[in-house]
Amino acid sequence: MISVCPQEPAVIKFLSGLGNIKFFGKLYLMSKEQIIERADELLKLLGLYDNRKRLAKGYSGGMLRQLSLIIALINDPEILFLDEPTVGMDPRNRRKVWELLDSIKQKKKTIILTTHFIEEAEALCDRVAIIDYGKLIAIGSPKKLIEEHEVKNLEEVFMKITGRRILEGI
C-alpha cells in the first residue's frame, strides 16, 4: 500500500485535524478503533494532539504540513512519497518529523523523499539522488557521495557538483 504527502498541505479546511484523519482512514476501510489508535499515536508524536479538534482552517502553515503528513501515514503504508514535508516548519517540529521518519525507516518501509534541505537528506536517506535543472547528476549513499567528492558533508557535495552553474551564473 502506498501513500503520498504532497507539497501543498492538501487537507480539508472545514474539518478538524482529527476529522481529516478519520476521513482518510475510512477511505482505507480502517475500523474506527484502528483510526483512533493510529491517529492518537501520530498526533502525540508530532505534537498536534491538543489541537486535534480544532478546524484545520485555523492551523498554521507548519501545523497543516504536520497534519498532511499524519494523513499520509494513517494507513501505515509500505511505500511513502513525501514532497518537501518539512517546508515551513520550525526546527523543533522538523526534528520531530525526522524522528518519525527515522522510526518508519527502522520498520523497513520505503520512503521516497523530495527535499531542498540537504541536511535533511543526509540525516534521513540511505540513498540520495541529486537532480539539477531536471537532470540526475549524482546518485548513491550520502557516505559514498561524500567520499567520492572528498568533502565534509552532502551540502558540500551538492555545492561542488552544482556550484559551477552558480559561479558561472548559468
Partner: protein
Amino acid sequence: MKVKRILAVVKMETIRIFAEPLTLVFTLLLVPVFILIFGLTMGSNYGWHEDYTIFEIMVPGLLAYGCLLTILDVASSVAGGRELGLQRRINTTPLTSTEYISSQIISYTIKPLLQLLLGLGMALIVGYRPANTAVGYLLVIVFLVILTFCCVGLGLITATFAKSAGGASGLAFIFIVPQQIFATFIPPEFMGAGTFKWIFPSFYATDGLGLIFAGTPLTDSRIWIRLGILFAISIVIYVIGIFVYEKNKNK
C-alpha cells in the same frame, strides 16, 4: 463499490455544505424567498392566462431551479479540491470514481430536498393549493432527485474546464442561466422562446412537476414521458461527467 467509503465522502460533503452558513442560507432561502415575493406581489394571476395562477409555473420552476444550483456546488467543490491538491491526494486512496461520484449525488440531493420542503411550505403559506396526492409528492421527489443527478454530471463537466473554485462558479452559470431562463420559473412562451425549452433537462422536471401539482392523474403518460426523457438525458450527462472526471482527475 464500498458503502463505507461512499458514506465517508457523503459525510464530508454534507459538512462542507453546512460549513458555509451564508452560502447555505442564500441557496436554501432563495427558493422560498422568491416564492414569497412573487406570491405576494403578483397575487393569484400571472397575467397572461386566466386559467393559471402564478403558482402553477413558479413553484415547479423554482424547485427545479434549486436543483440547478447543484451544478455550481459540484463544480466549485471538484475544481476547488483539485486546486488545493486534495483531489490528487484522494486519487492515491482506494476510492474509485464511481464511489466518489455516487457520494456526490447522495450529498447534493440533500439540498434540493430541503428546498422542496421550504419552498413548498412557503407556497402553501402564501396561498398555493396544489391538487396533489401523497404518491404525487413521492414522484415530485423522484423528479428532483433525477434532475440533481443530471446536475451533478453537469457540475463535473463544468469542473473540467475550470482551474479554480472561483472559475468553476462562474463557468457553472453557462449551464444554469439558459435553463433558468428557458426552462424553469420563467415561462419560455413569455419570451417567445418555447422552442428552446425542449433541449433543457430542467424543462422536463419543471413540466412534470407542473402536471403533478395541477392534479393530473399519475397514470397520465405525459408525466412518465417527461420522467423518462429526463432520466435518459441524465444518464447521458452522467456518463459524460464520469468520463471527463476520470480524464481530468489527475491534472
